[in-house]
């Protein structure tokens, strides 16, 4: 049985029917981040205090670079989904909420792109 009018949904007051996609994407990226996260955090711990050249050397393997880029994409995707959930729960004003969620996604896209380009720059100049 239909519980809302078409106008109600058109005004953005009902379910957009996109919640399931968000829920699944959050779980898929979460599962991907279990191995990728453990691996990257382990490597980061080993490299964070290491000399510059040592850290750069790590990014000279095609496998490491590929896995790191996969990690970055999954990380920012998962992070943006999580932050979106939090904003949607705590910002009551519709316009502000919409703007903040959009800004978070924009930040996530910019930072992942910045990371990927930096990683590739290190790899290609090694």
């Amino acid at each position: 049985m239909k519980r809302e009018t078409d106008l109600h949904r058109a005004k953005g007051l009902g379910s957009a029917k996109k919640g399931v996609g968000h829920w699944i994407a959050q779980r898929v990226t979460a599962v991907a981040l279990i191995p990728l996260g453990i691996w990257f955090v382990g490597a980061f711990l080993l490299l964070i205090f290491a000399p510059f050249d040592q850290a750069r050397l790590w990014l000279s393997s095609i496998w490491v670079v590929t896995a790191t880029i996969l990690f970055v994409v999954a990380l920012f995707y998962h992070g943006c989904l999580g932050m979106q959930m939090i904003w949607e729960d705590y910002i009551p004003h519709e316009g502000t909420r919409w703007g903040v969620v959009l800004a978070t996604k924009f930040l996530g896209i910019c930072l992942s792109l910045l990371s990927i380009i930096s990683i590739l720059k290190v790899y290609l100049s090694a």
Binding site: A30, I38, V41, L45, I48, F49, M83, I86, L111, V122
Partner: protein, 134 residues
């Protein structure tokens, strides 16, 4: 406003709300999530520093080695391990397991203990590495 609406209680009433292991761990999952999002910004900065050169990399490393930087790194590590362990708990629930209260409390405490243990372990490795690289 109708009289019915006026009498509605706010739920949960935060001033008198007794914190339990379940609610505390739930809010911690979000809290550590926010901290990890901020940490991911720092990872982007780390990649940029690696691509830029030894000067900017050195500056970032000096920030990490500052006492406040080290404190932040420990908090960051705890956030990661906590979010990871509690995330596994969430995925278990998504699969439909572990909903009875004794199990919820047991897995909750397991998350607390293991995330603290992993943080201490990472801290020890970190401090050993500072000495090795220095």
């Amino acid at each position: 406003m109708s009289s019915l609406e006026q009498k509605r209680p706010l739920s949960p009433h935060l001033q008198v709300y007794k914190i339990q292991i379940t609610s505390l761990l739930s809010i911690l999952h979000r809290g550590t999530g926010i901290l990890l999002f901020m940490g991911s910004i720092l990872w982007a900065v780390w990649f940029v520093a690696l691509a830029t050169g030894p000067q900017s990399y050195g500056k970032l490393q000096a920030l990490f080695l500052h006492p406040l930087g080290l404190l932040f790194l420990m908090g960051w590590a705890f956030s990661f391990f906590y979010h990871l362990c509690n995330g596994l708990r969430h995925l278990m629930w998504d699969l439909g397991y572990g909903y009875d209260m004794p199990t919820v409390r047991f897995t909750g405490w397991a998350v607390v203990v293991s995330s603290f243990a992993l943080t201490v372990m990472a801290g020890i490795i970190g401090f050993m590495l500072i000495r090795i690289w220095a």
